[in-house]
Symmetry: C2
C-alpha cells in the first residue's frame, strides 16, 4: 500500500509533532462540531437532539494481523465498526475521537497510512475527527475510537423493543467477512512457507473486502425513514447472526423462529465456505464482522419493506416460552445458540 | 491491596461474562444519562447545553508500572486525568466510556480491583459509566477512557483567550507527582535488589498520593462560579507547568512573565526533591502529572481571587513579541522552554 519514500522514526517528531502531522489536514464538516482538536476537550452542540455515544477498541494480534491487513484498510475498518454501532441505534454519527498506542517499530509514514484510512472513512460517513490521544506502546498497535452521534429521541431504536409476531429482518448478506478471513489466513500460511509465492486472491474481491473494508450501513437509517418504518429493535452484526438475535431476544424478552433457508448468503461466500469445508450457514450464524443491521419490525410494516432488495426477512419473534429456534432447510428445529468462532474453529 | 481470595481466570468468564461481572453494580446518578451500558450505544441528553468530550489512554510500561501502582489507584487515576480535561474547559464531567485491553496474566479479581478504583473516582466526580469495550491484549494492560461533560456555552473557557496584562494563576501546588514517582522508582529498585526489604514510604504520603491518586480539581469550576470569575483561558497541568504555559501563550498569541519565587511548591515536595538532588523549581516546571488547573484572569478580577488559599498568582501575560520568560529568584530572565522529563532525566 505504502510507497517506499523512506522511513521517518516516530521519535524524530515526538508526540506533539506526530499529532500535528496526522491532524493537519482535518477539516470540520458538521455544524455541530463547535471545537475540534487543539484544546483540553472538544465541544459539540446538537441543539436539543440527544447524544449517542459508543466506543470500540482494536488490538493488534487480537482483532487484526498486519501480515495481511494494510494499515489504510485497518483505519477505515476502525471507523466503520464504530459508526455501525451508531447506525444500529437508528442515529447518525457526527464526531470521533481517535486514540492510538503505537510502538516504535512503526514509522511516521505507516501512521499516516493508517490515518488516511481513518479520514477516508470519516469523509464517507461525514464524521469529524475532534480529538484523541496518541501515545507510545511497548509492543503492538492499539486503536481506541469513540464515536458520537445525534438523534431525535423519538427516532432511537433500542435492543429491547421487539414484540411477539414482529418480523426479523437483516440487511445485505452474511458470512462473507468470516470466509474472507479464512482466505487471508490461508494465503498468509502459504506465503510464510514459501515466501516467493504471491497470494492468490483473484476473483475473491467481494469476500476480501467484506473482511478488510466493511461498510457500515449508513444508508439504512435513511432508507427506513424514507420507507416510514421505525424498527421495534435493532443491533449491528459484529459477533455473528446467532449471537445478535439472542441479544434482541433476551433484551426484549421474546423468543424467535429463524429460517435457515432465508439467511442471505452471497454466492462467492457460499462457494468459498465450501472450499474450506465449512457450512455456509454456520459462517453466517457464527462468523461475525459483517456489520450488517439486524432489526425487527411490526407485521403491519411488511408491505413497506417487502420489495426492498437490501432487506431480507429471515424469521419472526415468538413468545419467550417458545424459545429461540433455528428451523433448518430440512424442516427440523434446533435451539439457536451463540457459539461464536468456537463453532467454526472446532470443526 | 487485593485480599487473596483465589484467582479466577478471565477465560472462565469470557468477554460478556467479564463485562457483566464488572458492570453489575453500576448505578446511574445523572439525569442526563438516558441509556447506559447494554445497547449498541449510550444515550445522553444535556437538554440544550453543549457537550464537552475528551479522551486519554494509559498504557502499561509507558504511563504506569504495576510494580508499584496498585490497580485500584490506577483505575482512580485513569478517571481523574480524564475528568481533569473537562474541568479545564470550566465544564462538568457526567459520563465516561471505559475500554480495557487485558492480557490473560490478569485475573478477574485484579480487574475487579481496577474497576473498584474507577467506580470510586466516578462516585467522587458524580460520573456515570455508560459504556466501553473489554477485549484481550497480547501483552500489557491498556486503559482508554472517554469522558463526556456538559456546559453552558457562555461558561466554556478555551486555551486561546488570554490577553496581554492578564494574571497567570495556578491551583494547589506543583512538582509533587514527579518527586513521588522518583521515590516509588527508588523503592522499586531497592526491592528488586533486596526483595526482603519493605519500601520506606513513611512520612511521604502527600507526594505518593500526588503520583498514585491525583485529584482532578472538581472544586475549581464551582469556586470560580461562586467568585464570579470567568478565566480568559485555562488548561490542566498534565505535562508540567512550562509546557502548559507555552500552550496558553501560543494558542492565545501572547507572551508571559513567570516568577520562580511565586510557583507554589509543598514543603514535602521541596525536601524530597532536594534529597534526590533535583531542583524543586525544575520538578514543578517539567515534572507534570499534577492535574492542577492553570488559568488566566483579567486584572479587574484580582480582588475576587487574591484571598483564596487554593489559587496562586505566578505571573502575567505580556505581548507576544516580549517572549515567554522565567524570572528566577535571583532576578535573571530566562526564556521559558518545555523540556518535559528530558530536563529531569538529563541531570
Amino acid at each position: 500500500m505504502l510507497e517506499n519514500t523512506g522511513r521517518t522514526e516516530l521519535s524524530s517528531l515526538g508526540e506533539f509533532g506526530l499529532i500535528k502531522q496526522l491532524t493537519q489536514f482535518i477539516e470540520i464538516v458538521n455544524e455541530s462540531s463547535i471545537k475540534g482538536v487543539g484544546d483540553d476537550a472538544a465541544i459539540i452542540d446538537y441543539k436539543g437532539k440527544q447524544t449517542v455515544v459508543s466506543t470500540d477498541m482494536l488490538v493488534e494480534g487480537v482483532h487484526f494481523d498486519l501480515a495481511y491487513v494494510p494499515l489504510k484498510h485497518l483505519g477505515y475498518k476502525a471507523v466503520s465498526v464504530n459508526a455501525s454501532d451508531i447506525y444500529a441505534m437508528n442515529a447518525m454519527p457526527k464526531q470521533i475521537l481517535v486514540s492510538l498506542a503505537i510502538s516504535n517499530r512503526f514509522s511516521v509514514e505507516a501512521m499516516e497510512e493508517l490515518y488516511s484510512g481513518i479520514t477516508l472513512a470519516c469523509h464517507r460517513h461525514k464524521i469529524d475527527i475532534v480529538g484523541g490521544d496518541t501515545t507510545t506502546s511497548k509492543s503492538g498497535l492499539v486503536i481506541s475510537i469513540t464515536v458520537i452521534g445525534e438523534a431525535n429521541p423519538e427516532d432511537l431504536v433500542y435492543r429491547d423493543g421487539a414484540k411477539e409476531g414482529d418480523l426479523l429482518c437483516v440487511t445485505g448478506d452474511l458470512g462473507g467477512a468470516y470466509v474472507g478471513l479464512q482466505l487471508l489466513e490461508r494465503e498468509k500460511q502459504i506465503f510464510m512457507e514459501s515466501p516467493g509465492v504471491q497470494p492468490d486472491l483473484e476473483g475473491n474481491d467481494y469476500i476480501i473486502e467484506r473482511q478488510l473494508k466493511p461498510e457500515a450501513r449508513k444508508d439504512i437509517p435513511v432508507l427506513l425513514q424514507k420507507l416510514e418504518v421505525k424498527p421495534t429493535s435493532m443491533i449491528d452484526i459484529s459477533d455473528g447472526l446467532a449471537s445478535e438475535i439472542l441479544h434482541l431476544c433476551s433484551n426484549s424478552k421474546v423468543g424467535c423462529n429463524l429460517y435457515e433457508e432465508k439467511i442471505p448468503i452471497d454466492p462467492s461466500t457460499y462457494n468459498m465456505a465450501r472450499e474450506f469445508n465449512l457450512d455456509p450457514t454456520v459462517c453466517a450464524l457464527s462468523g461475525g464482522e459483517d456489520y450488517e443491521l439486524l432489526f425487527t419490525i411490526d407485521q403491519s410494516d411488511f408491505p413497506k419493506i417487502k420489495a426492498n432488495p437490501d432487506i431480507t426477512i429471515i424469521g419472526h419473534m415468538t413468545s419467550e416460552k417458545d424459545g429461540k429456534n433455528l428451523i433448518t432447510k430440512g424442516g427440523t428445529v434446533h435451539p439457536l445458540i451463540a457459539q461464536g468462532w468456537d463453532a467454526l474453529l472446532k470443526k
